[in-house]
């Protein structure tokens, strides 16, 4: 049986989106949401198959190639490796949960679920594409459903937030497109195949490398988002509906970190190593700044949004420390952040559904009012602050460990970020959940069965990954090791050995 697994992964949500758009009447809410759930669940099942089939080796597997626009050297190339595997899995996992969490969606249901499925297809496509035009296609096309999600189903200030999100991402995308075109016309180019262009890029002189690196970097740094390109994120998160926030935080931001590992490092090793100090500085600023700003937030959703800036600063540090341990940690941190922050946004959404308020000050004693909710929230917060035994730890610790060996200053400064994270998250938890039942907490119903069902897989993964991360590292490490060692070799840096994380 030779099923093109990767194409199937993109096709299932895409076809489901088309079916929802064209064939299901807008009034039939049950059919719309059931179809959406079915499509995402099917994708998840296929992804489980993919993870099981994945061989823990470096390089791309299950490749698919077909000609698409031969006149321009554009082809349809897909492949999966240790970097993309778990990001795809994360996408496939989050989507059905998001749909289940939005089960009661009442306004313009059809467009809502169609947008979510279109988003899933393009997100999976971004992680699997091995042709730069195909990658760009998915990269840009996902803006449309996300824009709709924020702009149509978002909060009061949604139009501003949606536009800001759109334009920011677009700027980065265009700069990347120019860089891609420039690469294409270098000697040896003439195709948009990832591998060919990587070879071409490595052969360029250092000025060209630095310029092109910047073009790609712009696209990814805005996605991450890296300080100071992060200002769109709090707006987008605050205004987006829960589903949008979850997808944005859990998956879409990961395109940045993914892009660094897939494109920046392999293509421009020289520029990477030369510009790494600047980027690491920005990463460290992001970690600390995100944490400090999170601390003063009054809106719990904004707090979580800024915590994303901080957590993803770790990813940047892990990648640009150019140490295999740190980079593997960065990949795992991306997955963990998806799980933990996704869960936080879901929980905040559940609360918002009940009270329509996200002000921390308006809550008190939630633990007593909603014990199940409080318990789940606590586990998620602990996971987010990287408590050993939960998933956050197994990502952040290797990042610091790896970074310490190559750029100790960054590791030391970033370590403060871990402490700050504990501070702002636990402090917020304390204010909202402890104390007497007051304010809006009075008379709230605890989570219902559907909401608990949504949370169970996430909490299970927090524990599972926290206690036994080995299966993930086994699949991530070979690829990441190769990427980092090639990048170091390309930048004439001495090789470093893989340390912890094994």
């Amino acid at each position: 049986m030779n099923l093109p697994v990767l194409t199937v992964l993109i096709a299932i949500p895409a076809v489901t989106a088309v079916v929802i758009t064209l064939f299901i009447p807008a009034g039939n809410r049950t059919a719309l949401r059931s179809t959406a759930l079915f499509g995402t669940a099917l994708t998840l099942a296929a992804t489980v198959g993919l993870v099981l089939r994945f061989e823990p080796i470096a390089g791309f597997q299950l490749r698919e190639t077909a000609t698409w626009i031969p006149q321009w050297g554009v082809s349809y190339r897909l492949g999966v490796d240790g970097v993309s595997l778990f990001l795809v899995a994360l996408t496939a996992l989050v989507m059905p949960l998001v749909i289940a969490a939005s089960w009661e969606q009442a306004v313009r249901v059809k467009g809502f679920f169609a947008s979510l499925l279109a988003l899933e297809a393009s997100l999976i496509g971004v992680f699997l594409a091995l042709d730069l035009v195909l990658f760009y296609l998915f990269f840009e096309i996902m803006l449309v459903p996300m824009y709709a999600l924020i702009g149509i189903w978002g909060g009061a200030n949604r139009r501003y937030a949606a536009l800001k999100f759109f334009l920011y991402t677009l700027v980065g995308g265009f700069l990347m497109l120019i860089s891609i075109l420039y690469l294409y016309f270098q000697p040896g180019g003439g195709t948009f195949s990832y591998e060919t262009l990587t070879d071409v890029a490595r052969g360029l002189d250092s000025t060209q490398q630095a310029l092109l690196f910047t073009g790609f970097f712009a696209a990814f740094a805005i996605k991450v988002p890296l300080f100071p390109f992060h200002t769109w994120l709090p707006d987008a998160h605050t205004e987006a509906p829960t589903a949008g926030s979850v997808v944005l935080a859990a998956v879409m931001l990961k395109i940045g970190g993914y892009g660094f590992l897939r494109y920046s490092l392999p293509m421009f090793p020289d520029a990477t190593s030369r510009l790494a100090p600047i980027i690491l500085t920005l990463g460290v600023i992001g970690v600390l700044y995100g944490a400090l700003v999170a601390m003063v937030q009054r809106d719990i959703k904004k707090l979580v949004a800024y915590s994303s800036v901080a957590h993803l600063g770790f990813v940047v540090i892990g990648v640009f420390a150019l140490h295999p341990t740190g980079a593997s940690g960065a990949v795992v941190q991306m997955v963990n952040h998806g799980i933990s922050t996704g869960a936080l946004f879901l929980l905040v959404g559940f609360l918002y559904d009940r009270t329509h308020s996200r002000q921390i000050a308006e809550y008190s004693g939630l633990l007593k009012a909603m014990p199940v909710f409080g318990g789940l929230f606590l586990v998620t917060v602990m996971s987010s602050v990287a408590l050993p035994g939960l998933n956050g730890f197994v990502g952040e610790f290797p990042i610091l460990l790896g970074a310490y060996q190559t750029v100790p200053w960054a590791a030391v400064l970033a370590a403060f970020g871990v402490i700050l994270a504990a501070l702002y998250l636990l402090w917020a938890y304390q204010r909202m959940f402890h104390g007497p039942v007051e304010g809006r907490a009075v008379g709230l119903l605890d989570l219902n069965a559907r909401e608990i069902t949504v949370m169970v897989p996430l909490v299970a993964l927090m524990l599972g990954i926290g206690l036994y991360p080995q299966p993930i590292y086994d699949r991530v490490n070979p690829t990441v090791e190769r990427i980092v060692s090639e990048a170091r070799a390309g930048a004439d840096l001495p090789a470093v050995a893989q340390g912890a994380g094994r």
Binding site: A162, F166, L167, I178, Y184
Partner: protein, 560 residues
């Protein structure tokens, strides 16, 4: 006597290869027929019968004298079809005209297709290390008319635009009570001018065809004659158009003065070898740029565009935006890339500056517009700037990307104007941005299509607009015009803002209270079909552009 005989011999009677301009003849012929039938009024059946007899006789004569039996047969068939259609639709003259006009465009498309088949693969082009067949080139009728890829491809574009305009405009014209008899013949005559312009191999021919198309368009612009905006637009268009024609003519005269010929290829050759005063050459080229700049709406010659686009009846605006631009750019490319390539060090920097100004100014001014048609007018200016990217590349790829861009732009913008004319039927007035509030909820299908066309104009991947933009960017990067591409990217970003804003207003804003009382939206079969075709083209070309890219590549006749 002998002197007289010699003089007669010196007049070189050109071999008139009617086949070379067969699409124009078809368009023009149908234009005349439609005009006659419209003039005939109640006696249209009789007139049609008379015409049929005359044309059948002519066809028989043609078949007998020249042996062109196939052509004669086609002409005869067209005459019989006209007769039959007149009988069927004898009580609905506008429907009859619309169908005959569509038949004219289809006939012209078929003739162009036949020419394409005839010439395809007749020449070979080499780009880099790669060789591929292209459409052959020939000149006919005393070197007045060129038959080559650029001409044929542009004919396709113009005819497709015309074909789409008919169903999109029919109901609009009916409901505005401007569905008068001259509408269809004028459409055909302007299309004749456009296709002729695209195939002009001589500057005189360029001038004549620009006049043919312009005069028809002036009238079409004023077609909503009770509407002051329409009158104003037509007057402005006419005055500025006349002015630009004069400048173009002046440029042609100076060119003739230097080169001693008005033939485009010969003039280019003469310019290149000449040590005539440099200033004169530059003057000639400058005046020509101004002339073409006006027709293609390049900054600073764009002033008429927003007013005319806003004032003209919406389907006419769509046709004008799509087809005029295609034709004028084809001639522009033929002259500058095809003939003045040797002098590119003089004109490319100038066009470079114009391109940057056009792209940025068009986009920036579009942002502040409140009227949707006016906004699309400024966006058309920005798009002209992107097309210039293909021109300044001065390469075969550049020309092919230019042709591709114009075709895709034609279909997309016609679709956008088509939806607008549908929506305008509801408000029965000019469409301001605010009038679109909540349209997405009430009419999801047309609003969704409008969104699709706007996204394509913006160049979102997965739509045809992206392919077009990618093609011109690609050719510009290849030609080393990185800065120009950077300006184009900046302009695209600004453009995204106003395209997206329309979508926002349609889908994210609440409907104003008074919308409850607005007339319901009535879509006709023709309108739906036209829009569906345009939308399908936008999506299909966006996803599988291979075939169209091939055609555009074969059509690139000039290597620069």
């Amino acid at each position: 006597m002998t002197i007289l005989a010699q003089a007669v011999q010196q007049i070189d009677v050109p071999q008139i290869a009617w086949g070379a301009i067969s699409p124009e003849l078809v368009l023009f012929g149908f234009g005349i027929v439609v005009l006659l039938l419209e003039t005939a009024g109640r006696s249209r059946v009789g007139v049609s019968a008379f015409l049929t007899v005359v044309v059948l006789a002519a066809a028989a004569l043609l078949g007998w004298r020249t042996g062109e039996t196939l052509t004669a047969l086609m002409v005869a068939l067209a005459a019989l079809a006209t007769m039959a259609l007149t009988l069927i639709w004898r009580d609905r003259p506008r429907m009859l005209s619309a169908i005959l006009t569509a038949l004219g465009f289809v006939g012209a498309l078929a003739a162009t297709g036949w020419q394409w088949a005839e010439y395809a693969g007749a020449a070979t082009a080499t780009v880099g290390s790669e060789s591929f067949p292209i459409v052959g080139t020939a000149t006919a009728i005393g070197d007045m008319v060129a038959v080559d890829g650029v001409a044929l491809f542009t004919r396709f574009t113009v005819c497709i635009a015309g074909l789409l305009t008919i169903p999109l405009g029919y109901a609009y014209a009916e409901s505005r009570r401007i569905h008068r008899g001259e509408y269809y013949p004028l459409l055909l005559f302007s299309a004749t001018g456009m296709t002729l312009l695209a195939s002009s191999a001589d500057l005189i021919m360029v001038f004549i065809s620009i006049e043919i198309l312009s005069l028809s368009l002036y009238i079409l612009t004023a077609f909503a004659r009770r509407d002051l905006n329409s009158q104003e637009a037509a007057f402005k268009y006419f005055l500025l158009g006349a002015f630009s024609s004069a400048l173009l003519l002046y440029g042609i005269a100076v060119t003739y003065g230097i080169a001693g010929t008005t033939n485009i290829a010969a003039a280019g050759a003469a310019f290149a070898t000449l040590d005539a005063p440099q200033a004169m050459t530059l003057t000639a080229m400058g005046l020509l740029v101004v002339g073409f700049g006006f027709k293609t709406a390049i900054v600073p010659f764009h002033m008429w565009t927003p007013d005319v686009y806003q004032g003209a009846p919406t389907p006419v605006t769509g046709f004008m935006a799509a087809a005029t631009k295609a034709a004028a750019f084809a001639a522009f490319a033929r002259l500058f890339v095809g003939s003045f390539a040797n002098l590119q060090w003089t004109w490319v920097p100038a066009i470079w500056v114009l391109a940057v100004a056009t792209m940025l100014l068009g986009a920036i001014l579009a942002v502040v517009q409140q009227d949707v048609k006016r906004m699309l007018g400024y966006s058309a200016v920005a798009h002209a700037g992107y097309v210039l990217l293909g021109l300044t590349a001065v390469t075969r790829d550049g020309v092919s990307s230019l042709l591709l861009y114009l075709l895709i732009y034609a279909v997309t913008s016609l679709g956008a104007f088509g939806v607008l004319s549908l929506l305008e039927r509801r408000t029965r007035k000019a469409m301001a941005l605010d009038d679109l509030r909540g349209v997405g909820r009430r009419y999801p299908v047309p609003a969704g299509m409008f969104a699709l066309f706007l996204l394509s104009l913006a160049g979102i991947p997965g739509t045809a607009g992206f392919i077009a933009k990618f093609a011109v960017f690609r050719s510009a990067v290849e030609a080393g015009q990185i800065l120009l591409v950077a300006a184009a990217v900046l302009s695209s970003l600004i453009a995204f803002f106003f395209y997206i804003r329309v979508i926002v207003v349609m889908f994210m804003d609440e409907e104003p209270a008074e919308a409850e009382f607005a007339a319901p939206l009535i879509s006709t079969t023709g309108m739906s079909a036209g829009l569906a075709v345009a939308a399908a083209v936008v999506v299909v070309v966006g996803l599988v552009p291979g075939l169209l890219l091939d055609l555009a590549r074969q059509a690139a006749s000039f290597a620069g």
